[in-house]
Amino acid sequence: MSTHAENIAAASKALRQVSRVKPAEIVFWLAALATFFFLPDQYLLLNEVVITGLFAVSLDLVIGYGGIVSLGHAAFFGFGCYFAGLLTKFAVPDPILGLVLAGIATGALGFVTSFLVLRGSDLTRIMVTLSVGVLLGEIANRMPWLTGGADGLQGVAPGLLLGRFEFDIFGKIAYGYSLAVTFVLFVIARRFVFSPFGWSIRAVKQNALRTSAIGIPVNGRLVVVYTIAAAYAGIAGALLAQTTSFVSLDVLAFHRSADLLLVLIIGGTGYLYGGLIGALLFKLVQDTLANFTPEYWEFWIGLILVAIVMIGRDRITGLPMHLARRLRGASA
C-alpha cells in the first residue's frame, strides 16, 4: 500500500521527468544557432521561418494546450505588426522597447477578445475568431491615413539594436535578433507549460467539467493562456515589421491564419517544438513550390492539407517514433 506522501512524491517525480530538458532539445537549439553562422545567404528565409515558428508556438498555446480551435490568429499577428510598425515609425525607434510595447498591447487585445471565445462550441469559436480577424483586416483597410491601406506601411526604420547594431540589408542582425527573441520566448513558454499552472490548463483541455470540479477556474485559465498567446503572436508580428521595415494588409489576411494551422498540423500540436519544426518544413515547401509554380502553389498546400487529414495526423507525427522503435528493435 502506497501512502499519500509516496503518491505525491511519485507524481512530482513523473512530472519533473517530463519537464526535464532532453538532449534532443539542446541539439535542436545548437542546430538553430549553427544556421546563424553557416547559412549567411539564407538569412531572409530563415528570418521568416523563425518568425512563423514563434507565431505557430503562440497558436500551439491556444490549440494544443488551451484546446480552442482558432481560425483568426492572424488578428494578433497583424495587430502586433501594425502596432510595432507605427510605433517605430512615429514614436519609439528602439526595437526592443517597441517589441515589449507591441507584446503588451497585443496581449491587452487578446485579453479583451478572450471573453468572446469562452462560450460555445468549436463552431462558435471558429466563427468568432474568424470574424475578429476579418474585422481587424477591414479596419486596417479602411484607415489608410494610419495604416497606408492597400499600399502598406512603408519606411519602418528601427533604430540601433541594443544601441550598437544596425539592421543590415543582408538580414544578419535581423535574423540574429529574431532568433534570440524566439529562443527567449520559447524558454519562457516551456517554463510556463510545465509549471503547475500550465498542467492545469492541459487539464482544462482534457475535461473542463472535471477540472472545474477539482476547483480550477476553467474560464480564468483559458483567459490567461489566450492572452499570453496573443502577446506572443503580437511579438512575432512586431519582429516581422521591424526586420522587414514594411507592413502590408497581408499580415491580417485569412490565408495567414489558415497557413498557420497547416504549420502547426505539420509539426504537431501540444509540445511547442511542433510550431518551430512545422514552420521550417512549411517554409521550405512553400519556397520550393513558389519557385516551381509562382501563381498556383496554394493548390499544393491545399493538397497537403487534405492528404494529412486523410492519412491521419497521428500516423504522420508518429512515424519517426515508429521508425526509431523499429530500428532499435532490429538492432537489439
Partner: protein, 286 residues
C-alpha cells in the same frame, strides 16, 4: 427604402439556397465544412462556361448547374468526406480549407482570376414599378425560385419519408441503422443535394455576388452566419437568418457605406455571445 428591402430579400434568399445544404451538413451532421462555398463557385463557373462559351440557354443551364454540382458533391462525399465525419473539428477545418485552396487555384488556373459575368436573357434586365417599389426582374426571379425551393425543402424534411429518415440518421446513426435505414446513403444523398443547391445558388447569384476565384473565402463567413444564427431546427431558422442577413447587409452598405461589412460581423459576434446555439435553436435539443 422599399427597394432596398426588396434587394435585401433577394440577396438573403440567395444566401439561403446556397447555405441550406450547409445547415444540414454542419448544423445537423456536425461536420465543419468550410468548403461549402466552393460548390457554389463550381455552380457559378459551370453556368458561365455553359452559357457564355457553349451557348446553352440560361434557363437550361440552371438545372445543369444543379446536377453537375450535386455530382461533384456526391463524388467528393463518397471518396473524401465520408472519412472525415468522425474526425475532430480541427481536422475537419484543415481538410475543408485544403479543399478551398485547391478549388480556388484550380479555377484561376483553368478559367482565370478575373471576375466573370453570366449573359442572362435580356428580359431579366427589366425593372417593374409596383407601388413605388422598383423591382428588377432578375431579383424577382431569384426570389420566386428560391422561395419555391425553400418551401419544398421544408416539406421534404418535415413531411416525407426521406426527411424523417434523415432526421433519424442525424439524431442517432446507430439506432437508425438498426431500424434498417441506410444511413450512408441518406448522408450521401443529403450531401449531394446540398452541394447541388449551393451550385444552383451560385449560378443564380453569380452576377449579384460577383464570381471570381476568391468566392469561397469571401462568402465563407456569410454562409456560416446563416447556419450559426439560424440554428439547425428545420429550415425556417436558416431562412429567416439569411433574409435578415441579406437585408442588413444591403441596407448597411447603402446607408452606412463607411462601415461596410462591419455591421454584419459585429451583429454575428453579438448574437453568438448572446445565444451560442443560434437564434432559433430548439431548446434542449442537440
Amino acid at each position: 427604402m422599399l427597394t432596398n428591402l426588396f434587394d435585401g430579400v433577394a440577396y438573403g434568399m440567395l444566401l439561403f439556397v446556397i447555405a441550406c445544404g450547409l445547415s444540414v451538413t454542419l448544423g445537423l451532421m456536425n461536420l465543419i465544412n468550410l468548403a461549402h462555398g466552393a460548390f457554389a463557385m463550381a455552380g457559378g463557373y459551370i453556368t458561365v462556361v455553359l452559357v457564355n462559351r457553349v451557348g446553352v440557354p440560361f434557363f437550361a443551364a440552371l438545372p445543369l448547374a444543379f446536377i453537375l454540382s450535386a455530382a461533384i458533391g456526391l463524388a467528393l462525399e463518397r471518396t473524401l468526406y465520408v472519412h472525415v465525419y468522425k474526425k475532430t473539428h480541427l481536422e475537419q477545418v484543415m481538410f475543408s480549407i485544403g479543399l478551398v485552396f485547391m478549388a480556388m487555384t484550380a479555377v484561376s488556373f483553368v478559367i482565370g482570376s478575373e471576375q466573370k459575368f453570366i449573359t442572362v436573357p435580356a428580359f431579366l434586365d427589366n425593372r417593374y414599378e409596383v407601388f413605388g417599389v422598383s423591382m428588377g426582374a432578375y431579383r424577382l426571379l431569384i426570389i420566386v425560385v428560391c422561395g419555391l425551393l425553400a418551401g419544398s425543402l421544408q416539406y421534404i424534411i418535415a413531411r416525407t419519408r426521406f426527411g424523417s429518415q434523415l432526421r433519424a440518421a442525424v439524431d442517432d446513426p446507430t439506432v437508425a441503422r438498426g431500424l434498417g435505414i441506410n444511413v450512408d446513403l441518406v448522408f450521401a444523398a443529403t450531401f449531394a443535394v446540398g452541394s447541388g443547391l449551393a451550385g444552383l445558388g451560385g449560378a443564380l447569384g453569380a452576377n449579384l455576388l460577383g464570381l471570381d476565384p476568391t468566392f469561397p473565402v469571401k462568402y465563407m463567413v456569410y454562409f456560416l452566419i446563416v447556419v450559426a444564427v439560424g440554428g439547425s431546427a428545420g429550415m425556417t431558422g436558416p431562412l429567416v437568418a439569411a433574409i435578415l442577413l441579406g437585408i442588413a447587409d444591403v441596407s448597411g452598405k447603402y446607408y452606412l457605406p463607411q462601415f461596410g461589412s462591419f455591421i454584419i460581423y459585429v451583429f454575428m459576434i453579438v448574437v453568438l455571445l448572446w445565444r451560442p446555439q443560434g437564434l432559433f435553436a430548439k431548446v434542449g435539443g442537440r
